[in-house]
Every structure is written in structure tokens, then in C-alpha cells.
């Protein structure tokens, strides 16, 4: 087992180094990094001065090693270009709690709801209930995420506000809610600012997840052990909820782990729309404002988190299915 973990980590180190390499080269050579910091027609001297100030005049290798060292020691003390006076590390640190307060509930709720729906669908396989659920999932997948958000916000926040003059959910914005982190924060803030985005995220995710889980369950029903159980005379609920669910757990765990990093960014749209200052929001704001240090650091952090979760998935997978370790 340990050999497997070490192998996975060793395999991913060069991958991460290459990502940083491509990222830095792309940001430096495929585009002009200092264009936004200069006047319309800059002289060479001005250009050099700005480059020197930002440390972009050093040889690429030096910059690469320096940035890599800083990333690995989580030292993001550089100043952001568009948000003067804030360090990149500060931007990242402030952006993590809002992101997590949306993604973690979304992930848990969507996974558990869609597994239940998939089980129902597999139980009634081929009958009206199953067919309706499948059709609903396909229909739901054909609508853009943005449309769900627009109408979710309209019916969740605008319409109740206009009709009943009450505000169950805020239209946009975010207030800290974790009681231990900030003074005077309460769970009520979470309901007001995060609940609606979470509901929308869950509704969208259910469509995709249900289809996948149902396919997993349906494939599982063709296996020999199900036939054996049926021949032994086990009842249908017992076969589905005891025998099948246990065996279907492997792909389910993989799927949940695989969606974990997507949720960090999958909420980019929710964060932008509801103006929640999370990781995705900060990244897109930085891209639109040409904020070079923030973009570089954010992509590096995103990629790092992504790779960590990929390794974690592999390890978990190997834990539940020993055959994987050999390959």
C-alpha cells in the first residue's frame, strides 16, 4: 500500500512542476505581462523599469525556481496589482472560507440525494418511475447552468421580496457566518447568503450525478453475485440496498472525490453571480483586471489542490479495491 502511495506522489511531482512551468511561460511569453501597467505607447525604458520592479527582468529559470519555492512554502507575500496594499496570500486566505461554505454543503447534499434517486431508479428499473427520472435528468442537463442561477435568484430572492415583502435569501453578497472565526457571526448569515447558491448548485449537480450513479447501479445488476443472491431467494430490497450498494461504493467514492476539485471551481459561476468573494470570484476578477501575481498564484494553488485530490482519490480507490494497487 505504501509503495503505491509513494508511486502516485512521485508520478505527480513532475506533473505539478510542468504545470507551473507552462503557466509561467504562458503568462510571460504568450502575452505581454506588463501591458496593463503601462501607458498607451510606452518607451523601452519605462517598460524595463516596470519589469524590473516586478522582478520580471530576471532569467526565466531564476524566476521559476523562486516562484516554485514560494509556492511550496505557501509564501504569497507579493502585492496584488489591482487591489493595492493587499498581498496575494491575504487575497487567498480571505477567499477560502466563502468558497468552502458553498462547496462543502453542495457536495454533501448533491451526492447523498443523487445516490438515493439512483437507487430508486435502479429499484424500479425499466418502469415508469425510472423512465421519468432518466428523462428528467436528460432534460435538466440540456439547460445552461447560468439559466438555473438566473431563475433561482429570481424565484428565490426577487420574487418573494416583491410579492411578500420578506427577504428569506439575500439577492447578492456575503457575510461571514462561522461563529468561531469572526465576532458576531451567526448561522443565520449562512442561510441568508449561502443557502440559495447551495440549493441551485445541488439542483444542477443532481442531473449529472443521478445519471452516472444509475448507470453504475444498472451495470452492477448484471453481475453474477446478484444472480446468485436472487437464486438464493433474497428479497429485492435486500439485494439492492445491501448487496448492490456495497459493491457500487467503489465507483461512487471515485466519483465524489473526482467532483471535489470541480466544486472548488464549479462554484466560479455561483460566486460571480451572487458576488460571493470566494476563490473563483477572485480569480475571474483578477483575470478581468489583468492582475498578474494573483492569476499566477491562484492557478498554482488550484492545480496543487487538484493534484492532491487526485492522489487522494487514487489512494482511496486502492483502499477499497486492492486490485488497483498492482497496476
Amino acid at each position: 500500500m505504501w509503495a503505491f502511495i509513494v508511486r502516485r506522489i512521485l508520478y505527480n511531482i513532475p506533473v505539478y512542476l510542468s504545470i507551473i512551468l507552462l503557466l509561467m511561460a504562458g503568462l510571460r511569453y504568450a502575452r505581454d505581462p506588463v501591458r496593463s501597467q503601462l501607458s498607451k505607447n510606452p518607451t523601452q525604458a519605462e517598460r524595463d523599469a516596470v519589469k524590473q520592479k516586478m522582478g520580471l527582468d530576471q532569467p526565466f529559470v531564476v524566476q521559476y525556481v523562486k516562484f516554485l519555492g514560494k509556492t511550496l512554502t505557501l509564501d504569497f507575500s507579493e502585492e496584488s496589482w489591482s487591489q493595492k496594499g493587499r498581498s496575494v496570500g491575504d487575497v487567498i486566505k480571505k477567499a477560502i472560507p466563502p468558497s468552502l461554505s458553498i462547496t462543502v454543503p453542495t457536495l454533501m447534499a448533491s451526492a447523498s440525494i443523487s445516490i438515493v434517486i439512483a437507487l430508486i431508479s435502479a429499484y424500479f428499473r425499466g418502469r415508469t418511475v425510472d423512465r421519468t427520472l432518466v428523462v428528467l435528468a436528460v432534460l435538466g442537463m440540456s439547460i445552461s447552468f447560468l439559466v438555473y442561477i438566473i431563475f433561482g435568484q429570481f424565484f428565490g430572492a426577487f420574487w418573494p421580496n416583491q410579492v411578500t415583502q420578506t427577504t428569506p435569501f439575500a439577492i447578492t453578497g456575503y457575510e461571514p457566518w462561522m461563529p468561531l472565526l469572526t465576532e458576531g457571526a451567526s448561522l443565520r448569515n449562512w442561510v441568508e447568503f449561502c443557502m440559495l447558491p447551495v440549493i441551485i448548485g445541488v439542483v444542477v449537480a443532481i442531473g449529472y450525478d443521478t445519471r452516472f450513479y444509475r448507470a453504475v447501479m444498472v451495470e452492477e445488476t448484471t453481475k453474477d453475485y446478484i444472480v446468485t443472491a436472487m437464486a438464493k431467494g433474497a428479497s429485492k430490497p435486500k439485494i439492492i440496498f445491501v448487496h448492490m450498494l456495497k459493491n457500487a461504493m467503489i465507483p461512487i467514492i471515485t466519483r465524489i472525490m473526482a467532483t471535489l476539485p470541480f466544486l472548488i471551481t464549479g462554484s466560479i459561476l455561483l460566486e460571480m453571480y451572487f458576488k460571493i468573494p470566494g476563490m473563483g470570484f477572485e480569480l475571474i476578477t483578477a483575470i478581468n483586471a489583468d492582475d498578474f501575481p494573483v492569476i499566477q498564484a491562484f492557478v498554482a494553488v488550484f492545480a496543487g489542490l487538484f493534484i492532491l485530490s487526485i492522489i487522494l482519490t487514487d489512494v482511496l480507490y486502492a483502499l477499497v479495491d486492492p486490485r488497483v494497487r498492482l497496476s
Binding site: V15, A30, R31, M141, S144
Partner: protein, 451 residues
């Protein structure tokens, strides 16, 4: 190759699936519309010009009286006043012809058989009756406030006599209000008739075109929603086809080479795949668009999207092409590794065929079904990602697309106006659903073991 796949057993299975055939037919209709738009059925100017007052309803939804009043207000005191000028001087104006031209809203203009003096006459009458309507409207508003005040006073007062007095007054006011209502109703009809006389709704072929322009209403700045939504079909096909063709060909070539030759080729390709797939795909798309758009060599291409909307799409193509090939590459590599161990490939090797020839003639053709499936999956992915990128300000610029319409339309929705978002969504829903059904059916027909 195409002919062989058409005659294959999978294709027979596919055509037996009636739903999938209907879906292919729907895609065909969309494709015809896209071709028609590409050959000039809807020009970009027609998507940008003003045809209606802002946020006018489409068919099925009748505006209430207040909305009718607001529309008339826009037609007369904003549009006609600024284009025709004051009613008294129109006939003596030397450039009345150009004023007529500017007053025209697409096909709906002042008819040519009306002489300048006739136009002046109608326009003066229209302007006068609208002024009357405006006064009556304001009076009625005042009366309504007064009634609301008295109602409030009744509820607050405790003296029974005073309440009775107020109730009497209320009855008088209500009677007065009814006469106002009748007056306003009559005036609204009159102004609408006058407007129709000055600018009749066109008939015949022009009428058909005008009807098409207006049947889905207008967006916030009065542009035709129908024109924009149908023009977007072309953009969707442009983005989807370019993304799918690029990704499928890159993915098949690299996946085929990696799977067939193994050793260092395989390592190099898989290295690239794992690097690119270790960045979340939306972040990758956003950063790629950012990098390509700010490119030092041709950044001036993308500086003015209003004038060069076609070029502004290049960063989006590049981002899609560089991102979506990964999935195809993985699947093709796996399939090629399986195929190259089969007997017919060994037979070809034994006969002495070259390796390149075996790869091109015997291996790659057997991955065609994967190409088809991935083509339609990537097509859907590209259309949906376009909406997200456009919302983030990184997608289509300078021309309408479903993404642009939906993200601009969010303010309409907040003002209880749904035509823009729903039209774009409905058209997009049809296309994406059809592709979803087709790719499901393709998967069932050619790759039944796939989860």
C-alpha cells in the same frame, strides 16, 4: 470510411432508435438555419438595429394599459420627436426625406404615398392627442393618490360622522375616476390608431419579415430578440464545430500515436494529458482565453470586437481546442492499445505492411465510433461553456450569442421580463437536448459497455 460506418450494425441499431432519428432531424433543421444565417439571411446589422421600444413583449403576452402607455410614450415623445422634429415644421423641412428614413423602424416606416404635408397633418394630430392623453394620465394618477389618501384617512379616523363624510367624498371621486378611465381608454385607442396611420404595420413579404422580427419581443435597448436568438444558432454551430473538429482530430492523432507506438511517445502524450487535466477545466479555459487574447503578436486583432466580431472568437476557439481533446485522446489511446493486439493487425504486420499504414488503414478507422460520440459530446460541451465564458466576460464579443443574450438578460429577469432569457434558453435547449439524445443513442449503439 463514412460509407462503411453507415452500413455497420451499430448504425442499424442507431436508426432503429426512433427518438434518436427525430433528434438527428432536429439537428439538421438547426444546421439549415445556421447555414442560412451564414449566407446572409440575418445580418449582424439587423441584430443591432432598434425595432421596438425597450423590453416589448413577444406574441402571446398582451401588455396592460400602463405598458401600452409607456410604449406609446416611447414611440411619440422619444422616437418620433427626435427623428421627425416638431410637427409644425415638417413639410417645410428640406431634409424631410432623411427624417422619414430615420423614423423608420426596420420594415415599419412612414409609407411613401403619404405626402410631406399629409405626414405633417397626421403627426401634428398624433402629437396633440398624445399630449392630451399624457395630461389625462397624470390627472388620473393624481386622483388615484387622492383616493388612496382618503382610504388611509378613513382607516385612521375614529369619528363616525367624519368617516361618513369621507365615504361620500370617496364615492364622488370614484365616479370622477370612471369618467377619467373612459377618457384614458378612448385616448389610448385614438393615439394607437394615429400611430398606425403614420407608421402602418407592413404587409406582404416585408410584413412577414417584420412579424418575425417582433414575434419574440425586444431586449432592453429595443433590439429584436428573434433576430438575435436565431443569429446565435450560427455562432453556436461555429463554436461547436470548430471546437469539436479541432479537439477530435488532435485527440485522435495524439491518442492513436500514443496507443500504437507506446514507449516514449506514449509517455510524452500522457504527460501532456495529465498536466492539462490537473488544472480544473473552467480555470484552464479562462486562463487560456486570457493568455491568447493578450498575445503580444496579434492582440490588436481582439482590441475592437465591435468591428471584428469574427476575430474576437479566436481566443475561445483556441481555449476549447486546447482543452477538450484530452477526453478523446484518453479513450482513443485505450481503444488503439486494444485493437493493435487483434489478429487482423497481426496479420497485416505479418504480410509486411508498414506501421504507419497499419495505423492509418487498420487501426484508426476502427475508432470512428469513438470520434462520432466524442464529436457530439464536445459540441454540447462547447455550446454550454460558451454561455459560461460569455457571462464571465471572456467569451463571444461584438455579436449576439446565446451566452451573451442570457447574461445580458439577467437584468431583464430582475425586472420581470423573460423574453430574452427564455428565447435564448429555448433554442439552446432544443439543440443541446437533440445532441444529448444522439450521443446517448450513439453510445448505446456502438459502445454498449460504456458507463
Amino acid at each position: 470510411m463514412i460509407g462503411r460506418i453507415m452500413r455497420s450494425r451499430g448504425m442499424k441499431k442507431f436508426t432503429r432508435n426512433r427518438l434518436a432519428v427525430v433528434a438527428s432531424f432536429v439537428i439538421g433543421i438547426y444546421m439549415l438555419i445556421a447555414l442560412a444565417v451564414a449566407f446572409g439571411a440575418i445580418s449582424l446589422e439587423e441584430c443591432r438595429e432598434r425595432v421596438l421600444p425597450g423590453r416589448a413583449y413577444g406574441f402571446l403576452q398582451e401588455p396592460n394599459q400602463e405598458e401600452r402607455f409607456n410604449e406609446l410614450n416611447w414611440y411619440i415623445s422619444q422616437h418620433l420627436e427626435s427623428t421627425l422634429g416638431s410637427p409644425s415644421g415638417f413639410a417645410s423641412d428640406p431634409d424631410s426625406a432623411s427624417r422619414r428614413e430615420r423614423a423608420a423602424l426596420a420594415e415599419r416606416g412612414i409609407p411613401e404615398d403619404l405626402s410631406d404635408s399629409q405626414v405633417q397633418e397626421i403627426w401634428a394630430a398624433l402629437s396633440a392627442s398624445f399630449a392630451e392623453l399624457d395630461d389625462a394620465w397624470l390627472d388620473r394618477e393624481d386622483l388615484r393618490y387622492e383616493i388612496a389618501d382618503i382610504n388611509l384617512m378613513i382607516s385612521e379616523s375614529e369619528d363616525a360622522d367624519e368617516q361618513a363624510d369621507l365615504a361620500d367624498e370617496l364615492e364622488d371621486l370614484a365616479a370622477e375616476g370612471e369618467t377619467y378611465d373612459r377618457e384614458v381608454n378612448a385616448l389610448v385607442e385614438q393615439v394607437e390608431a394615429g400611430l398606425l396611420e403614420l407608421m402602418p404595420i407592413p404587409t406582404g413579404f416585408a410584413g412577414l419579415k417584420y412579424g418575425f422580427r417582433t414575434f419574440l419581443g425586444s431586449d432592453e435597448s429595443g433590439r429584436s430578440v428573434a433576430m438575435r436568438a436565431f443569429y446565435s444558432i450560427k455562432i453556436a454551430f461555429q463554436v461547436g464545430l470548430v471546437a469539436a473538429l479541432m479537439s477530435v482530430s488532435i485527440g485522435t492523432i495524439l491518442g492513436g500515436l500514443a496507443g500504437f507506438f507506446g514507449s516514449w511517445v506514449d509517455h510524452a502524450v500522457m504527460w501532456l494529458v495529465s498536466v492539462l487535466s490537473s488544472v480544473p477545466y473552467l480555470v484552464l479555459l479562462a486562463v487560456l482565453v486570457y493568455v491568447v487574447r493578450g498575445n503580444a503578436l496579434f492582440s490588436e486583432w481582439f482590441d475592437n470586437p465591435q468591428e471584428r466580431p469574427g476575430l474576437a472568437l479566436v481566443p475561445v476557439y483556441a481555449a476549447f481546442g486546447l482543452t477538450f481533446w484530452i477526453g478523446t485522446c484518453r479513450v482513443v489511446r485505450g481503444e488503439v492499445m486494444k485493437i493493435k493486439e487483434l489478429e487482423y493487425v497481426q496479420a497485416a504486420t505479418a504480410i509486411g505492411f508498414g506501421r504507419i499504414r497499419i495505423l492509418l488503414k487498420h487501426v484508426i478507422p476502427n475508432t470512428t465510433h469513438i470520434m462520432f460520440i466524442n464529436f457530439s459530446l464536445i459540441f454540447i460541451g462547447a455550446i454550454k461553456s460558451e454561455v459560461i465564458l460569455s457571462f464571465l466576460g471572456l467569451g463571444v464579443q461584438g455579436q449576439p450569442s446565446w451566452g451573451v443574450m442570457i447574461s445580458l438578460g439577467r437584468e431583464d429577469v430582475q425586472n420581470f421580463f423573460f423574453w430574452t432569457v427564455l428565447s435564448a434558453t429555448a433554442l439552446m435547449f432544443g439543440l443541446v437536448l437533440a445532441f444529448n439524445i444522439v450521443s446517448d443513442a450513439l453510445q448505446d449503439a456502438f459502445d454498449p459497455k460504456h458507463v
